[in-house]
C-alpha cells in the first residue's frame, strides 16, 4: 500500500486515533506521527481527514481537548481519551478483530 494514496476507512481512522491516544494525550501532529509509527508507516493521516475526525470524536464524547505546550514550546491543542473513549476503543477493537478474522478466513478458503 502506498502511503500517499491510502484512504482510511472512517471506522479504521477512528480506531487508529483511539489507539494512538491510549498511553498519553497528544496534539494533532503527534497523533498523525503516532499513527504512522504504530502502523509501521502504512497509514499516514492527512490533516484534511485528521481534524474533522478529531472534532467529530470530541463532539461524540470520546475525546476531550485542552491547550498545552508542545515539546518545542509551541502552544498546541492536546487530545486525550475519555472514559467513553476507552469503552469505544474496546468495542471497536472487538469489532475489528471479528471482521479481520472473518476476512482472513474468507481469503484462506479454497
Amino acid at each position: 500500500m502506498s502511503k500517499a494514496t491510502t484512504n482510511l476507512l472512517q471506522g479504521t481512522l477512528d480506531l487508529l486515533i483511539l489507539k494512538a491516544l491510549v498511553l498519553t494525550a497528544l496534539h494533532g501532529l503527534a497523533i498523525s506521527h503516532r499513527v504512522e509509527q504504530i502502523t509501521n508507516g502504512t497509514f499516514r493521516v492527512k490533516p484534511g481527514s485528521l481534524f474533522p475526525a478529531l472534532h467529530r470524536m470530541e463532539e461524540a464524547g470520546w475525546l476531550s481537548s485542552s491547550w498545552g505546550d508542545s515539546e518545542n514550546n509551541r502552544r498546541a491543542k492536546f487530545y486525550r481519551l475519555t472514559a467513553t473513549g476507552r469503552r469505544q476503543l474496546q468495542t471497536e477493537t472487538r469489532q475489528w478483530e471479528t471482521i479481520a478474522l472473518a476476512i482472513a478466513s474468507a481469503l484462506q478458503a479454497s
Partner: protein, 882 residues
C-alpha cells in the same frame, strides 16, 4: 452520555460560534507552525518550510470547511447562516429585492383576494344543508316575458297537486313590511311572506322558538311572524320574552313564534321578518308575486324535476288561455342567489387575476435569471473555496424561499386589505358577500407557486455554476459563454410571454371600459340633475290609509309639507322610479284594436304617478299634457303613454285622444283617454328596454305605499331629515325607507359593471406595469452586457441615433412577437366577456387597435432609460470595461 455530549456541543457550536471558530483557527495555525518547525529541522529555509507545510495541510480554509461539516447542529447552523447570508445578499441588491417582493406581493395579494371572493361566492357551502338539492322555481310566460319571473297562488296549487319530484313545494314573496308595536317606533323593513314548507325546505334551525309548521299556511290560519336575529337584537334587545308577543305587521297583529339565526338570509340578504302566507282559495289567476322553493326528493335530479315542471307548465296553459309559451324554469339555490351576470363576471376576473399571477411569476423568474449571470462568478468562487454543490443549492433555495415568504407576507397584507375593502364596499350588492373571507388555501397555493418559481429559476446559477469551468468563469465572468446566450433567449421568451399576457388583459379591460362608458351614457330617460333628486319610500303604516280617500288626503298633506321645506322646488309621488325601480307592470287593451283570439298585448311598465312627476324628473312632454291636480278620482279617467308606446302600438297615428284600459284578469271596464305622450324612461335597469309604458294618475290608481320624489335647488343632504320630520308630524306611524338621491340610485344600478370594469382595468394595469419592469430589466441588462460592443461601434463611427435605434429595435421586435401572440389570445378569450358587455362587440376594432398601441407605448417607455444610457456610453471607458 453521548447524547449529553452532543447536546453540549450543539449549544457550544450554535451560541459560541466565534470562539469555536477561533479555536479551530488557532489549532490549525499551531499545526502549521509545528510542521514548519519540523521542515526547518531538515534544513529548509523559513519560506520554503512554510510553503511545504501549507502544501501538506492542503489549504487551511478547506480543512476548516471539512471540520465544520462534521459539527453537531451543522444543518441548523448552515440554515441560519444561509438565512443571514440570504438576507444580506437581498439587502445588498435592494432594487432587485424590492421589485421581486412587490411583484410577488401584487401577484399573491390580488390572486388571494380574488380567489377568496370567487370561492366565497361560487363555492363556499351555503348555510343551508345540502343546498345543491334545493331548487327555486320561476315562471316565464308571454305576455310577461321575464325569464325568471313569478307565479300566482293558483299556479302554485296546480304545481303542488302534480308534484312528484320535490319534497314539499313551498311558495314565497318578498315585500316591504311596516313593523310596529309596543317595542319601539314603527319602521319599514324587508320582509317575506312564505308558506309552511319554506323553513323546512331550507333546514335551518331557529335560534329560539320555532318556524312555521304544517298547516300554518291554511286559509284563515293565525297570523304569525318569525324574526331575523338582527331585528330581534335591534327591537327586542335579544330577549326570549319576544316569543308569543304580538307585533304589528303592516298594521295587522301577528304573533312572534321564533327567531332565525343571522346566517339565515333568504330570500334576501336584508330580509328581517317572515310571515305565514295563508293560501286562500284564489278566485282568479294573479297577482303574480310568488316564487317557489323546494327540496328535491332523494334520487331525483334537477333535470328530472325540470322535465316534470315542463309538463305542469303545459297543463297551466291548457287551464288558462291567458298564458302563452309558459315555462317553469328551475335554478339551484346558489344560481338563484347569484343571478345571471355575476358568475361569468367572477370567472372572468378570476381568470384575469390568474394571468396577473402568471406575469408576476414570469417577472420574478426573469429577475432571478438576470441575477444568475451576475452570481455565476460568486458561485464559482465559493465552489473553488470548498463549498459543496449541495451546499450552494441549499443556499439558493434559502434565498428563493426568503423572497417567497416576504412576497407572501406582503401579499397576505394586500389580500386582507383588499377583501376587507370589498366586504365593506360590497360593490354591486354582491350576493353571498357574507361568506367571503380570506381563504387560507388560496394564499397557500399562491405562495407555493411563487416559491416553486423561485426555486426553479433560482437553482439555475447553482447548477450551471457547478458545471462550468471554474477558472474561466472566474476570470471572464462568463461573458460570451453559450450558457449566457441560452439564458438570454429564455429571458426574451419570458418577456414576450409577459407582453402577450398583458395585451390579452388590456384588450379585455378595454372592452369592459368601452361597455361601461356606453352604460354611463344611457340617461335613464330623465334630464333633471340626479344629485338634486331625492326619493323616499313612504308607507303610512296604519290600515286606515288603505282607504283611497284617507290616503289621498294624507298624501296631499305630505306634498304640501314637502314643498314647504326650504330648497324644495318640486314634489311628486310615484310608484316607479328610474333606473330600476319598476312599480307595476301590466297588459292593456286598446279601444278599437282587435287581437286574434287568445292573443293579448304584452305586459309593460304601468307606473302610477302624481302631478309634477314628469316635470320633477325632467321627462320631456312630446305631445298633449302632463297630469294635473284636476285629474281626480271623480274626474274622467286619463293616461299618458311613452314615445315607445306610440311607436309600437300607434305607428303613424295620433295617440292623444285614443283610449286604453288595463286588461289583466280582474280588471273592470275603465277606459282611459290618452292625454299626453312623454319620453321613454328605463324602469328595469339601464341595459333593459322598457320604452313602451303607460302612466296612470295617482288619484285614479291609488296605492298606500309610494315614493315621494323631491327636486331641490341645491344641496339635498339635510333635506332627508327635514322631510322625515315634516312627514312624521302628520302621523307618527308613518315609516320612511330608502332615502337617497337619484345619483346614488344610478351609481348602485351600475355598481356591478363598475366593479367588474375597475378590477379588470386594475389587473391589466398591474400586468402592464410588471411587463414594463420585465422589458426594462431585459433591455437594461442587455445594454450593460453590450457596453463593450456599443463602445466599439461608437469608436468606429456609429452615431448616437444608430445606437439608440439598435436598442429600441431589440425591444420593439420582442414587443411585436408578444403583440401577435397576445392578439391571438385576446381573440380566443374575449368571447368569455360577452355576457358582461353592453353596446360593444367582443371583437371591437377600436379596442383591438388601441391596446397594442398602448403596449408599444409602454415598451418604448421602458426602453427609453436604457437606450439613453447606451447612447451616453463613452467609447474610451467602454473599451476598458472589464
Amino acid at each position: 452520555m453521548q447524547f449529553l455530549s452532543r447536546l453540549f456541543s450543539l449549544g457550544r457550536n450554535l451560541f459560541t460560534r466565534a470562539r469555536v471558530e477561533q479555536d479551530l483557527d488557532a489549532e490549525l495555525r499551531a499545526y502549521l507552525d509545528q510542521v514548519t518547525d519540523e521542515n526547518r529541522k531538515t534544513g529548509m529555509g523559513l519560506a520554503e518550510a512554510r510553503r511545504e507545510a501549507q502544501v501538506e495541510l492542503g489549504g487551511i480554509e478547506q480543512v476548516k470547511e471539512h471540520v465544520r461539516q462534521v459539527r453537531t447542529g451543522q444543518v441548523l447552523e448552515e440554515l441560519l447562516l444561509d438565512i443571514r447570508y440570504g438576507v444580506r445578499t437581498l439587502r445588498k441588491n435592494l432594487a432587485f429585492t424590492v421589485v421581486a417582493v412587490l411583484t410577488l406581493a401584487l401577484g399573491i395579494g390580488a390572486n388571494t383576494a380574488m380567489f377568496s371572493v370567487a370561492y366565497g361566492i361560487l363555492l363556499r357551502p351555503l348555510p343551508y344543508p345540502a343546498a345543491d338539492r334545493v331548487a327555486v322555481v320561476y315562471m316565464n310566460y308571454f305576455p310577461r316575458e321575464f325569464k325568471f319571473g313569478t307565479m300566482c297562488i293558483r299556479d302554485y296549487l296546480m304545481w303542488k297537486e302534480n308534484n312528484r319530484a320535490f319534497e314539499n313545494p313551498s311558495l314565497f314573496r318578498s315585500l316591504r313590511m311596516d313593523i310596529g308595536g309596543n317595542e319601539g317606533v314603527p319602521e319599514q323593513v324587508q320582509g317575506a311572506s312564505v308558506t309552511a314548507g319554506f323553513f323546512s325546505t331550507l333546514q335551518v334551525a331557529p335560534l329560539i322558538g320555532r318556524a312555521f309548521g304544517v298547516g300554518e299556511d291554511r286559509p284563515a290560519a293565525a297570523s304569525l311572524a318569525v324574526l331575523s336575529e338582527s331585528i330581534w337584537r335591534r327591537r327586542f334587545a335579544a330577549s326570549s320574552a319576544v316569543l308569543g308577543q304580538t307585533i304589528l305587521v303592516n298594521g295587522a297583529p301577528s304573533t312572534v313564534i321564533g327567531v332565525m339565526p343571522d346566517v339565515f338570509r333568504y330570500p334576501r340578504r336584508e330580509t328581517e321578518v317572515w310571515t305565514n302566507l295563508p293560501l286562500n282559495p284564489p278566485t282568479r289567476f294573479g297577482p303574480w308575486f310568488y316564487r317557489g322553493v323546494a327540496r328535491l326528493k332523494p334520487g331525483v335530479t334537477m333535470e328530472q324535476a325540470q322535465i316534470e315542471l315542463n309538463s305542469i307548465g303545459l297543463r297551466l296553459m291548457q287551464e288558462n288561455n291567458y298564458y302563452k309559451r309558459l315555462t317553469l324554469p328551475v335554478l339551484n339555490l346558489r344560481d338563484a342567489l347569484l343571478g345571471t351576470t355575476l358568475k361569468p363576471a367572477i370567472l372572468v376576473l378570476a381568470g384575469a387575476v390568474g394571468l396577473v399571477l402568471l406575469i408576476a411569476v414570469v417577472n420574478v423568474a426573469n429577475l432571478i435569471l438576470a441575477r444568475a449571470t451576475v452570481r455565476e462568478r460568486e458561485m464559482a468562487l465559493r465552489l473553488s473555496l470548498g463549498a459543496g454543490r449541495g451546499r450552494l443549492i441549499r443556499q439558493l433555495l434559502t434565498e428563493s424561499v426568503l423572497l417567497a415568504v416576504m412576497g407572501g407576507a406582503a401579499g397576505l397584507a394586500l389580500a386582507w386589505g383588499g377583501i376587507e375593502l370589498i366586504r365593506a364596499w360590497n360593490p354591486g350588492n354582491l350576493p353571498l358577500i357574507d361568506s367571503v373571507r380570506l381563504d387560507g388555501s388560496a394564499l397557500g397555493f399562491m405562495i407555493l407557486v411563487s416559491m416553486l418559481t423561485g426555486i426553479l429559476f433560482g437553482l439555475a446559477p447553482a447548477l450551471q455554476g457547478s458545471r462550468a469551468d471554474l477558472n474561466s468563469t472566474i476570470k471572464e465572468g462568463g461573458r460570451g459563454a453559450s450558457v449566457g446566450q441560452a439564458r438570454g433567449r429564455a429571458r426574451a421568451a419570458l418577456v414576450v410571454s409577459e407582453i402577450a399576457l398583458s395585451l390579452t388583459l388590456l384588450v379585455g379591460a378595454g372592452l369592459l371600459l368601452r361597455s361601461f362608458v356606453n352604460l354611463q351614457r344611457v340617461t335613464g330617460g330623465f334630464s333633471a340633475p340626479p344629485r338634486q333628486i331625492l326619493t323616499i319610500l313612504i308607507s303610512p303604516g296604519s290600515k286606515k290609509y288603505n282607504d283611497e280617500h284617507a290616503g289621498l288626503a294624507f298624501y296631499d298633506e305630505v306634498l304640501r309639507r314637502a314643498r314647504s321645506v326650504p330648497g324644495v322646488e318640486l314634489a311628486a309621488v310615484t310608484d316607479s322610479l328610474p333606473p330600476d325601480r319598476q312599480g307595476d307592470a301590466d297588459t292593456f287593451a286598446i279601444d278599437g284594436q282587435t287581437l286574434p283570439s287568445g292573443e293579448m298585448n304584452p305586459i309593460i311598465s304601468a307606473p302610477t304617478v302624481g302631478p309634477d312627476y314628469f316635470r320633477g324628473l325632467g321627462i320631456p312632454l312630446v305631445k298633449g299634457r302632463y297630469f294635473t291636480e284636476h285629474d281626480r278620482s271623480d274626474s274622467a279617467a286619463v293616461a299618458i303613454v311613452s314615445e315607445g308606446f306610440v311607436r309600437r302600438f300607434f305607428p303613424g297615428q295620433e295617440a292623444v285622444g285614443k283610449r286604453i284600459k288595463q286588461s289583466g284578469p280582474g280588471y273592470g271596464d275603465k277606459w282611459m283617454e290618452i292625454v299626453g305622450v312623454v319620453g321613454n324612461v328605463k324602469y328595469l335597469g339601464l341595459t333593459i328596454d322598457t320604452d313602451p309604458a303607460y302612466y296612470m294618475p295617482f288619484a285614479q290608481s291609488y296605492g298606500p305605499r309610494i315614493y315621494l320624489v323631491v327636486r331641490s335647488s341645491g344641496d339635498t343632504t339635510n333635506q332627508g331629515a327635514a322631510l322625515r320630520r315634516e312627514i312624521q308630524s302628520i302621523d307618527p306611524g308613518v315609516t320612511l325607507a330608502q332615502i337617497g338621491t337619484m345619483e346614488q340610485a344610478l351609481n348602485l344600478s351600475v355598481s356591478q359593471p363598475r366593479f367588474d370594469t375597475m378590477l379588470l382595468v386594475l389587473f391589466a394595469g398591474i400586468a402592464m406595469l410588471l411587463a414594463a419592469v420585465g422589458i426594462y430589466g431585459l433591455i437594461a441588462y442587455s445594454v450593460a452586457q453590450r457596453t463593450h460592443e456599443i463602445g466599439l461601434r461608437m469608436a468606429l463611427g456609429a452615431a448616437q441615433g444608430d445606437v439608440m435605434q439598435m436598442v429600441v429595435r431589440q425591444a420593439v421586435s420582442l414587443a411585436a412577437i408578444g403583440i401577435v401572440i397576445g392578439l391571438g389570445g385576446a381573440f380566443a378569450l374575449t368571447r368569455l366577456l360577452k355576457a358582461l358587455l353592453f353596446g360593444v362587440g367582443v371583437t371591437d376594432a377600436l379596442t383591438f387597435a388601441a391596446a397594442p398601441l398602448g403596449i408599444v407605448l409602454v415598451v418604448l417607455l421602458a426602453t427609453f432609460v436604457p437606450a439613453i444610457r447606451a447612447t451616453r456610453i463613452s467609447p474610451v471607458v467602454a473599451l476598458r470595461y472589464e
